[in-house]
Symmetry: C2
Subunit: 305 residues, 2 copies
DNA sequence: CTATATATGCTCTTATTGAGTATATATAGC
DNA sequence: GCTATATATACTCAATAAGAGCATATATAG
């Protein structure tokens, strides 16, 4: 069965018994911005060890979150598993990270932070981040120097020169900044680091993974609806998408898209804004669930510089 | 920091020390069909425990694979982590699965199996699977019975009625068949199960995840090139894409797509087929790496039944 | 010279996207 | 009742991109 080339397993090698920790990235939307629940002044996520009585990893994570926060989780998915050499001798810790959406955080004030506090360059809904992107571009250029392949990578990942900005590349962007020594977590640092909160361990990397995943997920599944109240206006829905994607969308086209697919149905009720025409309240129509398309209707990004 | 609702951690709960196993789904293409490397008569994957001296999970997996098979890995990504209650008392086993592409399996005959031996319904390159899909459709209808929401799910996932076939939904399809009791792994069985090899533990589910992931991956990244020889004809490239996606593509449109993006550059050499005009050999031009688009150029699927 | 299998070139229709213009509807405050 | 304001709609239009078809060129084996 096995190739004749197979070399024997080294005899001295020792399997490891690991502590296993379940880490939860809990995403919600408030104030038209995606937020996460954090601990330790924004430097850590809710987490807990895998227990004997947990019947599965995901259930274990749910248990922990419910114990710690009392929240009900919506759309949930596993993100990534990584190992941490446990400070010192032959132990290791395995950390399994999950992302989950939560609807409204009622009002008990959990320690929420905007995702864009950690990655300011990822929010491109208006021109405010353009100076920052300009800075990043010039510092990356400096780092790439005459290495054209490296610069090529920068341009594709950050949408520079003739490349388009791809919001799902947030992880690659973070990793590139890390390599370039522009974030405080970098092993070496290349001058002053960029603005943006950092976190313990690999957690900011996990968060970048989560951002990337959620942006991918909301495109093709009705997962956004797990972040909105049961009833919402189309504008709220659009703003939620914009908040997650980090870019503005064309209102008319967005509505066309949503209604073509019969993703939502109108309710009898209306929203009453402080001013202006009251907006119709809609609800998710899960018949079409499992699959939808909410990607289109993008507006051109503000030009960098 | 924590919500006032937080309930205390149960005092009797015990953290678990886990054995951690690294599982590798090794994908290659031979005979115009995607294959995987297996052990135990196709029922298991190469794997090994996480060792103290492994500096990261991915490196650990690479080490194991190289020891067991002597292969070099191309595009590699983590798939999914799951827990297995270790037959009996308070231990658990955590299994971390990876997918990796390998270029050509030279000639030392490893135990290769076609992925479509496990999921015959996923290969829709020609009409041969249509009778099977017809069977599946009718048995799913039987299972859904009068539960319209359930049937709705079947139609979206299997592309029935007016829905389009989405090749990236292979995991959802497998899970649906599992729920419907149509595969031998189902907890209860609903009559005779469908054709298709099964595997130990959750491995067939892992394989379905891998198939789904690779289909998603080859669309937007140049990962396919890690499955092809360094030099290849455009037809080989197309056939590799077709093999993975499980559907035929329009030749002229495919070439248009590939060449527009300058993904490949011609070499001086030619392929010499047994008959017919020799094909130009190309090589991957990695300038554009990190991002590309190879999705288009689909041919209509053969009608089911 | 022919059968065969590949490589190319070009056209055409349709659907999707991005983007713009115009208008309708409701409320608050004067 | 009029006006400012903020929303909800309706339509149009151009530019691509995607799916599909037709035709032809090129090389080899026999």
């Amino acid at each position: 069965m096995i190739s004749p080339l197979a070399t024997p397993i080294p005899q001295n090698a020792q399997p490891v018994l690991c502590e296993t920790e379940l880490v939860a990235v809990l995403v919600s939307i408030s104030n038209n911005t995606p937020h996460i629940l954090t601990l330790e002044h924004g430097r850590s996520f809710p987490s807990g060890p895998l227990m004997v009585e947990h019947r599965s990893l995901q259930k274990g994570m749910r248990n922990w979150v419910e114990h710690q926060t009392g929240l009900k989780l919506g759309h949930t998915e596993q993100l990534y598993t990584f190992a941490d050499p446990l400070h010192g001798q032959g132990h290791q810790m395995v950390q399994i990270s999950y992302m989950a959406f939560i609807r409204q955080n009622c009002d008990h004030s959990l320690a929420e932070r905007s995702i864009y506090d950690y990655f300011p360059w990822e929010d491109r809904r208006d021109v405010t981040t353009c100076p920052l992107l300009h800075t990043i571009a010039s510092r990356l250029k400096q780092w790439a120097a005459s290495n054209t392949q490296r610069w090529q990578r920068c341009t594709t990942v950050f949408g520079l020169e003739d490349h388009a900005w791809n919001d799902e590349l947030s992880l690659q962007r973070y990793e590139l900044l890390w390599e370039a020594g522009l974030v405080p977590e970098s092993s070496w640092q290349n001058g002053a680091h960029l603005p943006g909160l950092s976190m313990h361990r690999d957690y900011r990397r996990i968060l970048a993974t989560a951002l990337s995943r959620m942006r991918a997920k909301i495109r093709y599944t009705p997962a956004v609806f797990d972040l909105l109240p049961r009833q919402f206006t189309l504008l709220q829905l659009q703003q939620a998408m914009e908040a997650l994607a980090g870019r503005a969308m064309h209102k008319q086209n967005f509505r066309r898209l949503v209604q073509q697919q019969k993703l939502v149905s109108r309710t009898a009720e209306y929203d009453s804004p402080p001013q202006g025409r009251p907006a119709q309240l809609y609800q998710f129509a899960p018949e079409t669930a499992e699959h939808c398309y909410l990607a289109g209707a993008k507006l051109p990004l503000p030009a960098i510089s």
